[in-house]
Symmetry: C2
């Protein structure tokens, strides 16, 4: 199927997927709160189970906040994070059920039944916040920005340093900025659909 056979127009396909890359450095141009809010206010419409919406985004705006994160990153992620225009911690709100009566008015009882169990909240919330992390990365691109997502960090350490009350658990750290000519590394190969998709 050619790109034009999709309903999404080819320029949008390129912006979000084909021409987009993980960025390892950025231009000096800042990223505003308004831009990040626009990203979230777009991707918040994508689905989560029971409309849990458990993703939380913590922007490290001050040098002091960024400095608290750096030693908790794996060594290879420190220099580029120190220099990025903006760094965000994507986390799951482990108390997301407190908002359910408002987010899912048809089933307010879930807050005090199924989701009274903290282990279940952690499992379901982490899964759904990870779906939302995927939406968010594409949303960053939708804003004309580039993302540098990183899993290489001490998640327990980040939880303790930033979410000391145990209410949130860090899933992904993402550098965000405007790309420049040297932001990207060459594209690695991908599995073709013929290998990743099977029919029974």
């Amino acid at each position: 199927m050619s790109p034009t056979a999709l309903a999404l127009d080819p320029a949008a396909q390129d912006l979000l997927f084909r021409e987009a890359h993980t960025a390892h450095s950025f231009s000096d141009e800042p990223v505003t709160d308004e831009q990040v809010h626009a990203v979230y206010d777009l991707v918040k419409y994508a689905p989560t189970a029971y409309n849990q919406s458990p993703l939380r985004v913590t922007l490290l705006r001050t040098p002091e906040a960024r400095g608290r994160l750096l030693p908790l990153l794996s060594e290879g992620n420190r220099a580029k994070t120190a220099e990025a225009p903006l760094t965000a911690i994507l986390s799951v709100d482990l108390e997301f059920h407190q908002r359910l009566p408002e987010l899912l008015p048809a089933r307010p009882q879930l807050k005090d039944t199924v989701y009274a169990d903290p282990d279940l909240r952690r499992a379901h919330g982490s899964f759904n916040a990870t779906l939302q992390a995927g939406y968010f990365l594409l949303g960053v691109r939708a804003a004309g920005l580039a993302a540098g997502p990183m899993s290489g960090f001490d998640a327990e350490g980040v939880d303790k340093e930033f979410f000391g009350d145990g209410r949130q658990h860090a899933l992904l750290v993402v550098n965000i900025g405007h790309p420049h000519a040297d932001s990207y590394r060459p594209r690695n190969p991908r599995l073709p659909a013929e290998e990743a998709v099977t029919s029974l």
Copy 2:
């Protein structure tokens, strides 16, 4: 920030996010393998750690294959799945490391070092396949189709029934089809950016 302040054009924003909804029923129009391949071949470019690309998509094409899934779904998900034009199981390939030398030619050694550990593979692979599941759901919309993702199923049962060799683990079941007038339920509220995004 207005929708037009994003780089993604407003029609694409609507198609993927603002006007898109989880579908609970579909028109009779079939969904072809070609369409699903086009979805995968678009979203495969979105990022995973070390380019793991661990998501696998299993399309239940035959009535027999669909029939094996139905009793493993929670009761409320059975009738709509029996009637959907197409049902897919999204899973993580727990042996994704076998493909790493090809997917990440710069670091082929990861296959036999870090990812020799099956527990680490399961944790990292599930996280990254879940990011890809998020991309895939948006890709279904990019194809002009609607998705009905479901977490309500017996994952261990599905693994045993469909992935008996223990190589894959089911993450999400998704009905896919063309939406019609009664596909959607009214939109539930979302958290505004002011509540989900904080700055430090």
